[in-house]
Subunit: 223 residues, 2 copies
């Protein structure tokens, strides 16, 4: 078994260059504005399907990064996605990070209303932080609730719609993109069944690294 | 767009029945002792590749669940995997959950030794909790360090080896399995490049749900 001896700091660079050369072998040409996001998702999943499945509304990356530079908060639908987002980058930009899933009041409200905790937690997030980046990596019900809130007038800074699964997941992403396109809300989504908390965190990190790049490259050293 | 109206509590059951029927369509026959783990990983990733890539040493599931019933702790290599593991199930079994990655002393030691924080954090975990379930979803260097420690005499209750990525990832899993087979250490690994913190957490949860099943089915309601 051959193990490559690579310094810890060089592992990510080597991975990214393997990804770039395999993308070239596959003849994949990534739009420059989407490249960092797509590559980071592949880095996180080792799954090249995301080249085809990731969709971006016009200027989604640019607008998401501008929002982060203004200190807009990030809301996740799981504590797992929250745990995967780069703290040093957030601190550098003055952004906060929230997940309301485990709040006891959310569980109570969800039970009372017959809704998922994820949907109710997005509702609370939208009340507390109407201009936020919503990153949904798990629950299609969270994404559907965001799409409804957009129809009712909510204007998030960006919606990252990458839930994973078999029930209403593909549909929730189609509905989200349709609402976002109609109401000019920036969105990034992974069409189909695949996604997850790791993918949601990876997209947030790609945006954060881009947004902090001009500030200080050391902020990227978090992973 | 057709959204299925399903009660929150029924979403997981419906997903699992879709997974079962698609496995049948593909002609996949899962060994009964591995079925719950494989299905939960597919549930978490929407990726049927895991039917082929997941490997189990003899009685790994049974031995892992027996360890959990004895209150053996779980160690993860990321706070993300830690965040994804079912708290109610852990509490029911009296198991603790640890990740040392973010400890300041780990960063310091790693820098001094020229190793990754992941490798050093496994070393610390092995000192503090020599009989533990080690769940590695991110860093191949963590898995390689565990394989070395097994060669030196460490006997974990179970090693879950599912790092993701492009540099030394496939190799680290082969080396782990070889060490585990030689020294009779139970192991579950996802061969190849794919894996991740979500997969590590999913495997832990499948084991936890199985281990708590006879205690109280309500412990499964966490997700």
């Amino acid at each position: 078994m051959r193990i490559q001896h690579i310094l810890p700091g060089d592992i990510e660079r080597t991975s990214m260059s393997i990804i770039a050369s395999e993308l070239a072998e596959r003849g994949a040409v990534l739009p420059p504005e989407h490249e960092a996001v797509i590559k980071r998702v592949i880095h996180t999943t080792a799954d090249f399907d995301y080249v085809r499945s990731l969709r971006f509304t016009p200027r989604a990356v640019e607008l998401g990064q501008a929002a982060l530079r203004q200190g807009v908060p990030i809301i996740t639908d799981t504590n797992m996605a929250k745990a995967g987002i780069s703290r040093p980058s957030l601190e550098k930009l003055g952004c906060t990070l929230h997940c309301f899933m485990a709040d006891p009041e959310i569980a109570e409200l969800a039970k009372k209303q017959g809704l998922t905790r994820a949907a109710v937690s997005m509702e609370k997030a939208a009340q507390d932080h109407p201009v936020a980046i919503f990153a949904v990596g798990n629950a299609p019900t969270a994404l559907l609730r965001i799409a409804e809130l957009i129809e009712e007038g909510l204007r998030p800074a960006l919606v990252i719609g990458v839930p994973v699964g078999f029930v209403n997941v593909s549909e929730s992403k189609e509905i989200l993109l349709s609402s976002c396109e109609t109401h000019d809300v920036p969105a990034i989504a992974a069409m189909g069944r695949k996604g997850g908390s790791s993918v949601a965190a990876a997209i947030c990190n790609a945006l954060l690294y881009g947004a902090t790049e001009t500030l200080d490259p050391a902020a990227r050293g978090w992973q």
